[in-house]
Symmetry: C2
Subunit: 477 residues, 2 copies
């Protein structure tokens, strides 16, 4: 909705503030300061990190190499991650192969929350990731690998980790393993945590408290709130902390009832019916997937500076150099996965009996731990490989040809900038209204927002696109 | 508690009735008939299936062979299952290899239930499995592979499948994917279903209605209610259907409160704390496991009629011939996994604030989809391989040296007779009383029975031993 301002790229050429969402004057940030101070903070943070990220040939990677036998791209220490091969078989016996990122470690994505004057605030971080289209994005309090937090390598401990780990941590509100992109990661899941503290929290220039409502409002800005923040926010079983919104129309009324439908407002399906649908769809899938040596992957070509599918339609594995002159770490090199083209993740939404429902599907992706999770109505590109005959996905037209009046949310967000290069997804919520058919294909079901939130107490129900989109939906009231 | 009567083996030499649990005269079965009629039914069923199961050399298996290159034991059609190799690495870098059963298909284990005179009944089946120590056991209404129920192979459709699958099925009460033995199966899970019908159900001599309470009482008999029944029964969110038991002592009072503790009676930990404990224990495990060719497995020896570990301490892969003279299917041959020695699965239990809690652990097993699930307090043998230095497991002494007065449940049950040969586990519940320490190692937590039941709405929380034991616990009041 709001274009990504150019100043986010350079830290100098200020075009517009990404925080300038409300009335221009007098808007008060969660900690009582004016939004203009938030602007100044963001501007300072982006200036503080004048990183330059540039593509390099694979041969210029430091410590990374293609193993002679397997062809896998690995780091000489065995740390970080590897790029290996995947052999997948879908239904109807369709077979394809592709590279995939393998990183078996479980990390912590944690947001620290605290009440100020009775209002719940989140400690957010201005954090640089090399694949981010604008380098710095708004990130969780902590993004830590297991090596970080168990101090196996005795390296620097991430700031504020003590609030999430160890005897002095705060009150745990959320702690759940959630999956990441099943088309790009092999069996990856991270620990999504929200921890509440009542202690004084030291200040640091990279960190700032935002009211939960403010963070959600920032989800209406392109490429500002990073993927890790979005997935943690989606798991937070709390919605607007300050006020009940005034009714605007049937969509908003339905959304309010959807949040609050703990039983008073009826959902189309019971929880038992939804769990049974999920079980049945997974039980009937005949997909299988396994890791293979990268050298065995067919229909992909490795050049001096990229590994890409023959049609250049899926993604590239590339190498980048990160130069960060002003920091103690002088810079580094690493591989990144660069998708070909922008993704789409969209919920169709409609009121049913006055309660907003969104249309979800059970959707297979070869890298998911149990192959299938609940996804948005439309998720593009498909999971099958280049050359695999993909059927046209249902409801794509309803999203991409929607009338402007139906579009309630349409924002481009970034996927994880530590592993993906300029990976953008267009997230949409389309209000199709009460005339839209309730009858849907077997893989689809209409669920209330509350039903999605309840499933998120447990891992591996909602995929990362569905969780991201759910957090975006929270920005709509 | 009740020894397995010899007549179950032969169908003729009647020693005692396994159903004779209550007063000998006048006991009424759920459908209004006398228990003596149930005896007659069981006796007739076991006589109807005079199977002889005998060990044979691998060379006499029909259609099964060791693949030349991989060494995997496979069927020539590619159906049924394979025996492959597993390479596992535990914490502290301990590495071991072993054979493992791979059967990627998801099957249905389903119990059909119906009310008669307001009392919930289960349609149970007298079913033969070649690995059963007594050949016939009490089984769910349906045990079907996906090939059966999607009719891919156009074979005979399992009886009563229509109640679980397709447009005319009944009301679904339970439908969840649950794991099976992670020491013996690779990523195996089956669909556990309970479906309620109000229709007339055709009679068949192999099937009989039992009141839910009766089925649970039968769990006090050795080797009678099979593993598939036990796991489905554990997922049934319903306890005694007929009456509230009279209070007998603190254990029983605590058990009643544990079932009913929906909030009124306090549990030691909140649901959020339990989910966080589960997440943290899984996140910190450094186990990994992958399939390898069986020929690459070291420290196991393949002879003409068995594949066994060097110490003959873990299990054997053997071959059997099943001869069933009186049936249309003349017989068949198949591999089975035969454990060395009896297993143990035990809950320590104690009241906390008047509510019975059981001590559960998060326990890794290499074949589980996500490596670790919640297990009983003690589960023997350990998951690590022969030769792996296993630490003595906590609480083993408290179970195996328990005073007779502390033992509330002590029954030998069989694991799945279609894949395992004479695989017996001694299931115990030990009442350790209020003096037992609440302080336990990190991997352990005290949970109420209600908390375990709630977790069973979702897959992959409780392992099959914990589910079995929970169903056994339901027999105690």
């Amino acid at each position: 909705m709001v274009s990504n301002p150019a100043f986010l790229l350079s830290g100098s050429a200020r075009v517009a503030s990404p925080f300038n969402l409300g009335p221009p004057d007098g808007r008060v940030a969660g900690d009582g300061t004016m939004m203009s101070e938030v602007d100044a903070w963001w501007s300072a943070r982006t200036s503080a990190y004048p990183y330059v990220v540039s593509r390099i040939p694979f041969a210029e990677l430091d410590g990374w190499r293609f193993e002679p036998e397997s062809g896998n791209l690995v780091h000489e220490t065995g740390r970080f991650f590897t790029v290996e091969g995947l052999h997948a078989r879908g239904d109807d016996g369709v077979v394809w192969e592709q590279p995939i990122i393998h990183q078996p470690e479980v990390g912590i994505l944690g947001i620290l929350v605290k009440e100020f004057n009775g209002v719940l605030h989140c400690l957010m971080q201005a954090k640089m990731e090399p694949g981010n289209i604008n380098v710095v994005q708004l990130s969780p309090t902590v993004q830590a690998t297991r090596s970080n937090y168990t101090r196996v390598h005795r390296g620097a401990v991430p700031r504020f980790l003590d609030y999430f780990w160890g005897p002095s941590r705060g009150q745990i509100l959320v702690d759940v393993l959630q999956s990441e992109q099943g088309a790009w990661f092999w069996h990856k899941h991270n620990r999504n945590m929200v921890v509440k503290t009542t202690q004084d929290v030291p200040e640091h220039p990279d960190f700032r408290w935002f009211a939960l409502d403010e963070v959600r409002q920032l989800l209406r800005v392109d490429n500002l709130v990073n993927m890790d923040s979005r997935t943690v926010l989606s798991c937070m079983p709390i919605w607007r902390s300050q006020e009940t919104p005034s009714s605007q129309d049937a969509f908003h009324d339905g959304l309010l009832r959807s949040y609050e439908a703990r039983g008073g407002w009826p959902a189309l399906h019971t929880e038992t019916e939804i769990l049974s649908w999920f079980t049945e769809m997974k039980a009937h899938l005949e997909w299988s997937a396994r890791l293979v040596p990268l050298s065995k992957v067919s229909n992909w070509q490795r050049g001096s500076d990229e590994l890409v599918d023959d049609d250049a339609a899926r993604f590239r594995v590339i190498a980048v150099r990160v130069e960060a002159a002003s920091r103690e770490v002088a810079g580094w090199t690493q591989p990144l996965l660069a998708p070909c083209g922008q993704g789409v993740a969209a919920f169709l939404a409609r009121p049913i009996n006055g309660v907003l429902h969104v249309l979800a599907q059970v959707r297979p992706e070869p890298g998911l731990l149990d192959i299938a999770e609940i996804a948005p109505t439309v998720q593009l590109p498909g999971a099958a490989g280049a050359g695999a005959p993909e059927e046209p996905a249902p409801f794509v037209d309803a999203v991409l040809s929607a009338d402007a009046s139906q579009i309630r949310y349409d924002v481009v967000q970034s996927e994880e900038g530590g592993r993906f290069y300029h990976a953008e997804t267009r997230y949409l919520v389309v209000d199709v209204g009460e005339q839209f058919p309730l009858e849907v294909p077997d893989a689809f079901r209409w669920l209330t927002v509350r039903q999605l939130i309840n499933l998120l107490r447990h891992g591996h129900y909602l995929n990362v696109q569905a969780r991201s989109l759910l957090s975006c939906l929270h920005s709509l009231w």
